[in-house]
Amino acid sequence: MNKLWQKGVLGVLILLVAYNSVYFKKLDEVKATTAGFDGAAYATTFWSEKLTPAMEKGVDLSALLQQLQTNPDQAFATHSHALGIGNIKYFPVKGVATVKNVRENEVQVALDAQPAGTELTIATEYIFGNAVRDASGQIDINAFTNTMDFNTVSAELNNIIRTQVIPPFKGQVKTGDRVEFTGAIELNQKYLNFSSIEIIPVSLSVEKQ
């Protein structure tokens, strides 16, 4: 009788342990937790709290272009950002320029002091890639579980530019206007090319002439 009692208690204990050791969840619930990164929300916060302030402290583009021609190594070391290894580097830049030509995909501009042989455009159509995200120097790839989430941040930042920065600019810009800008440029350190420097804008304000 005593043994039967002991076996009963043991059986109940085993059942209790087994019940508390196994959990059943729907697969889509599990997937939802791994795919739960909200890129749009992250980008909105990053834009207002980190990106915009970083771009306002960017390097003056005229001064940068001069330095790139006289001492490129120092210019890259001092002002560029990149998240890894390679020749592609990004610069947070700011300045004031005069509009030379309004084209379908970009606006050609000229700085007051611009080295000969350089051509500058403000992108208005192809707002893509990681230039803005990486130029800020304010984001850490290691804070993200995988690179897909990390890249979603770029896509969402570009979306903000495409929907909030470009339309009011395109709606009013004309040849001869003055434009105050902040933004990002991408340069290849090994093969520097000054003939087509493209500014991905973060802020644009037009002063009519």
């Binding site: 990149a82 890894g84 990681n130 290691n142 690179t147 896509a155």
Partner: protein, 318 residues
């Protein structure tokens, strides 16, 4: 008396054990560290180059190194990890077959105290590998896609040939590409199929797609081997002059084809940089460093007929 004998025996045992441990430690110190290089496949010249560069750098740093081919099979990869751990390899330079499926292998190595440095492809666990040195596939594909949209003047029918569906690079490239192309409603994707990064499979996939969709304007391929396969299919169908092909990698035959204007563009990856960085990290680990970046992206550069003169296979001209 008994107590004294016991203490003496224990002391003797301790001295003997210390001596044995000392011999073992000394023997390990005198032995060169061994590095295992486990790559997803050697059936693609790009990965052969990656593996050989890693081996060369490990040898140059004074380590014995051996290459293991996983043949795109996670089970085979697991066998290689087990063998490498059992054979006393001290570090693994790793190119995974599957971003999720390979995690367990990396974790087993970590439990065994063997550091793993991922090259080119990542595993979806930020804490498993000691460091992951990865091509910035997304940015590379964004650059290719901009060229793609410009070349097609924002309209046309196209086919996308994907790499292995379990590899993050496949989706980073596809996402980077679509992050641009999908903004243009007149660019219509008529087919999207995987060819596992394989040249022959890509040729077969495109041959089959062309039967149902003969009127295409462009093909975007997730790597250069597939781009060459796609180009072969277009040559066979008599459409090579009309359809624009885009690849990704910077393989020799595609760099040559861009020069000959057979292929429009590719994204130049730098496998030597990734392999050499991984081997250097292993060397630093052996010397005591433990603070490595969890992820180290390597920039990808757009190669077109305008700048192809700056590049050779798998990298920039020196």
């Amino acid at each position: 008396m008994f107590k004294q004998n016991t203490i003496s025996s224990l002391l003797l045992c301790a001295i003997f054990a210390l001596a044995l441990f000392g011999c073992k430690t000394k023997e390990k110190k005198d032995e060169a560290n061994k590095v295992a290089i486990i790559v997803s496949t050697l059936n693609n010249p790009w990965f052969v180059f990656l593996a050989e560069q890693a081996k060369e750098k490990a040898n140059e740093l004074g380590y014995e190194a051996k290459i293991f081919d996983s043949q795109n099979n996670t089970a085979q990869e697991t066998d290689h990890f087990e063998n490498a751990l059992a054979s006393g390899y001290d570090a693994i330079l790793f190119n995974p077959t599957d971003a999720d499926g390979s995690i367990v292998n990396v974790k087993n190595a970590k439990i065994a105290g063997v550091p793993v440095f991922c090259m080119d492809r990542e595993v979806n666990d930020p804490d498993a590998a000691t460091s992951q040195i990865l091509s910035d596939s997304y940015s590379g594909s964004v650059s290719i896609a901009k060229k793609f949209v410009e070349s097609l003047n924002k309209k046309g029918n196209y086919v996308e040939i994907l790499g292995m569906v379990g590899d993050n690079n496949t989706w980073n490239r596809s996402r980077g590409f679509h992050s641009v192309v999908d903004h243009y409603p007149d660019l219509k994707m008529v087919a999207q199929q995987s060819a596992d990064f394989d040249r022959n499979k890509a040729m077969e996939v495109l041959e089959s797609v062309l039967q149902a969709n003969p009127d295409i304007d462009a093909v975007f391929c997730g790597n250069d081997a597939m781009a060459m396969g796609a180009y072969q299919a277009l040559v066979a169908a008599g459409k090579a002059d009309k359809v624009k092909v885009f690849g990704f990698d910077g393989a020799e035959d595609v760099v040559n084809s861009i020069q000959d204007e057979k292929i429009v563009a590719t994204g130049m990856q730098f496998p030597a940089v990734m392999a050499q960085t991984a081997a250097t990290f292993a060397d630093e680990y052996f010397k005591g460093k433990r603070d490595f970046p969890k992820k180290m992206p390597v920039a990808v550069e757009l190669v077109t007929s305008k700048n192809v003169g700056n590049y050779v296979a798998y990298g920039a001209k020196k």
